[in-house]
């Protein structure tokens, strides 16, 4: 009978050092064997590694929780699903089933929403560049177009003349809400009076009808009071516009930017302690509405959340394909997925779980991806027991922005599956192969290598 084996580990005993933040526990383990009841092993056996896994249950739960937080406090709430956060059809379809409009920011996203069957009047069209041909289509189909700049006012007026009708529009506003950085590149500035100049310009043209105000104060906003200030200022602006220009402002779109339960790099406290609850955001925002709205006036409150809904519904299963020892003594692992798939690794420190419990004391380690690039680091400093080759590491939350900002760089993008509420697993995006990469390429006849060989 052989003795049980544990990978050899030596750890230096450090005493007398500053210990403000404590050490990673030597035997702490995060083990995940399944996602929504479907085993990691079965998922990889069937769909390969790496593998993105989305949970339909979590997606719907997050949406409902957020929607309830607002709808329970204010009678007129509409969510727009931020397509850029994750525009896989299955994800959008789930959220449209839940009642979300499509919030799109480009020609491509507008076309995606329309192809999915979303009517124009349920599309909120934002973004700093809306080509005239798509503006014309959006205007004809009754989309809610939020104007970003003066040139777009001119473009829309030309569209209105061509269509022979007035177009109902919103304008995008940027403002000081007491947070840094103050986003100022989108829309018209409030404090300098630029917003009122835009409204004057719209009224002078006579082809557009202002019906809404839009503002997006930033991303991963951890201060609910910033939203309260935004909301209060938008309500005051609404009444000022109504009084001076006679427009009826029907919707106040306060944008998105609510954080997900992810951990920003550089933060010590875990997100469950650091981040306010969704109820705190909802309370601040709706209180600001009630404090400033006239009695009986309930304009539609529009929110365009993305990461707060989808981030926690996403997991990436990776496989440890190799390990090495760095010159400073730290262990390094190479996983089969890197920043090509996890773009958000540049600013988040993900939760890393193993698919099995492994013996041995934790070691300080780095997790690299497969790219031949120095920046391909998934975690520059974590604590794991010695990993066997072939161990699966599960990264989360990764549902937001990765499937829209991922890079096709030297690797094929993997399958994306969704674990459905009934426990079945659906492929919602197939793994790529060479035909996906080269489909749009054309090799000129004189560069055909077989013709060179024949010479």
């Amino acid at each position: 009978m052989k003795k049980p084996y544990e990978k050899p580990v030596i750890t230096k005993v450090e005493t007398g050092l500053m210990n403000k933040f404590g050490n990673a526990p030597y035997y702490a383990r995060k083990v995940r064997t399944a996602i929504d009841g479907v085993s990691i092993d079965a998922l990889v056996q069937q769909f390969g590694s790496p593998l993105f896994v989305l949970s339909e249950r979590q997606l719907r739960e997050n949406y409902r929780k957020l929607y309830r937080a607002f709808a329970a406090r204010y009678p007129n709430v509409q969510f727009g699903w931020s397509y850029k956060t994750n525009y896989l059809q299955a994800v959008c379809a789930v959220l449209h089933q839940e009642g979300a409009f499509a919030e799109v920011v480009s020609l491509m996203e507008y076309e995606k929403a329309r192809r999915l069957g979303i009517p124009g009047e349920k599309i909120i069209f934002n973004g700093p560049y809306k080509p005239v041909e798509i503006l014309e289509q959006a205007a004809a189909e009754g989309a809610l177009i939020n104007i970003d700049h003066f040139d777009e006012i001119a473009d829309l007026e030309a569209v209105a003349k061509k269509l022979g009708k007035q177009i109902r529009v919103g304008i995008r506003v940027n403002m000081d809400t007491g947070i840094y950085p103050q986003w100022s590149r989108f829309g018209f500035n409030l404090e300098t009076g630029q917003v009122m100049d835009a409204v004057k310009r719209i009224q002078a043209g006579g082809h557009l009808v202002l019906t809404g105000l839009h503002c997006h104060i930033g991303t991963f906003i951890m201060e609910p009071d910033a939203y309260a200030q935004e909301t209060a200022k938008l309500v005051q602006l609404k009444y000022s516009i109504e009084e001076h220009f006679g427009y009826q402002i029907e919707f106040l779109d306060i944008g998105g930017g609510l954080p997900s339960r992810n951990r920003l790099k550089g933060t010590y406290l875990p997100p469950e302690i650091l981040l306010p609850s969704v109820e705190e955001y909802a309370e601040k925002i709706t209180q600001a509405l009630y404090d400033h709205l006239k009695p009986g006036d309930f304009p539609t409150l529009v929110l365009e959340n993305g990461r707060a809904i989808v981030d926690e519904a996403g997991y990436l299963i990776t496989t440890v394909v190799a390990s090495k020892r760095l010159p400073d003594g730290r262990k390094a692992y190479i996983a089969d997925a890197g920043v090509n798939l996890l773009f958000t690794a540049f600013w988040y420190k993900f939760t890393v779980e193993m698919d099995r419990d492994l013996p041995g004391v934790n070691e300080s380690c780095v997790i690299y991806g497969p790219l031949c690039m120095n920046i391909d680091v998934l975690d520059e400093g974590t604590s794991l027991p010695p990993l066997e080759r072939g161990t699966r590491l599960i990264f989360s939350p990764v549902g937001a922005y990765n499937q829209t900002q991922w890079m096709q760089f030297i690797e094929y993008r993997p399958s994306v599956v969704m674990v459905m509420e009934d426990g079945t697993v659906e492929v919602i995006r197939e793994q790529e192969d060479l035909s996906d990469i080269e489909r749009r390429e054309r090799l000129p006849e004189k560069l055909q290598l077989n013709s060179i060989a024949a010479e």
Partner: protein, 78 residues
């Protein structure tokens, strides 16, 4: 190898370097390798002996011994 020879190693896996005052802890297999290295055995011999005594295949044992030695080197013990 000199710094390895002068290490004080006890059976519980506590390792002390009297020359520098540094100390380490090793697990059971780490202790096993350390002792054999102190006896002057080479890495391949240690891996084969370990594969014979422990529930581990030779390839994994070889890989792990090399990795452990690299770690010792990072602590300047080799």
């Amino acid at each position: 190898m000199d710094s390895l020879r002068q290490l004080a190693i006890n059976e519980e896996g506590f390792v002390f370097n009297p020359a520098t005052g540094e100390s380490w802890t090793v697990n059971s297999t780490g202790l096993y390798i350390l002792k054999l290295l102190k006896e002057g055995k080479d890495e391949d011999t240690i891996a084969r002996q370990m594969a014979a005594e422990f529930d581990v295949d030779l390839e994994t044992a070889q890989r792990d011994v090399v990795d452990f030695v690299e770690k010792l080197r990072s602590y300047r013990l080799l």
